[in-house]
Amino acid sequence: MGKIKPRAYYRETLNGGFIATKINYMLGWGRKYSLFHYPFITACCGMEYMSAACAHWDFDRFGVGMTTFSPRQADMLFVVGTISQKEAPVLKTVYEQMCEPNWVIACGACAVSGGIYDNYAVVQGIDKIIPVDVFIPGCPPRPETILNAIEKLQDKIQHQKQDWKWKIKK
């Protein structure tokens, strides 16, 4: 047996059936099209979320089809609606239960900034509690805006530095 030459090996045995890519790019591609999301819906923006998720706008087309009702299985937290001070610890617990890597979308004026509820009871934007990747303005936002936000998040996931288990730690 002679020494196996890699190029010849690929050419002869695999017959060109392979692609060459960067693992970072591959992981990003895989992650951005398989976003399991956990809807944390507290208010009227939920209606817009529902229409964006169901047949009319259907964000399953972008790979966000899988709705999980356990944060442990979710990649993306969809915070839709007003978060009151009393609910803030619940949201924080839900966020902390999610496995890495995870992303958060704040949907609607209330989740982004407290909206019209500038008072004693409402958290003035959920970024005061958990880190947020994409903010969706609007009261409520149009479903198209939600789709646009998902595209933005996918773009972010594709180009971010992926965290992977077997990465060589320096």
């Binding site: 009393k86 610890p89 004693y120 005061k128 880190p131």
Partner: protein, 162 residues
């Protein structure tokens, strides 16, 4: 029973204790002293008036103008399809009034809400705790003297860095 008859029956049963405020927009408003609240409510709930339903119970802050809170009770009679509104003043120096939770079960939570938002104590209430706000919340947020921008977060907030 017509509302006029109700007023007549009330003034007959409690002479001098009931002040009728003229009808406004079809609502009959009766003003009473807070010490007479329980007996008058008991009278209204039973025959012949039969206001068997406590629709709502709330409070208004008139501290700056009149120096008092005003309790407002909305009653509804299912048998005659009539409504009546009872008002009673609660002075600032004695913030308590009798609880109606023995007469109507739903008064329990409504009174807890008023306690939560205005700090009025209900004598004889079985469970006088806050209803909406969390433990550790200081002050009564619907009082006019509660600072508009005062925030009392339940958990520490993040410091947002750019």
């Amino acid at each position: 029973m017509e509302n006029k008859k109700v007023i007549d029956a009330l003034t007959k049963a409690f002479p001098g204790k009931v002040t009728e405020v003229p009808d406004r927009l079809g609502d009959t408003i009766v003003r009473i002293e807070k010490d007479d609240l329980l007996i008058i409510m008991d009278f209204l709930k039973n025959r012949p008036c039969e206001f068997t339903m406590l629709l709502d119970l709330t409070c208004v802050d008139y501290l700056s103008s009149k120096g008092c809170f005003e309790m407002v009770y909305h009653l509804f009679s299912i048998s005659s399809n009539k409504r009546i509104r009872i008002k009673s003043e609660v002075r600032k120096n004695e913030l308590d009034i009798d609880s109606l939770s023995d007469l109507w079960k739903n008064a329990n939570w409504l009174e807890r809400e008023v306690f939560d938002m205005f700090g009025i104590n209900f004598k004889g209430h079985p469970d006088m705790r806050r209803l909406f706000m969390y433990e550790g919340f200081e002050g009564y947020p619907l009082c006019k003297d509660y600072p508009l921008r005062k925030r009392q977060p339940k958990i520490p907030l993040r410091k947002i860095t750019k």
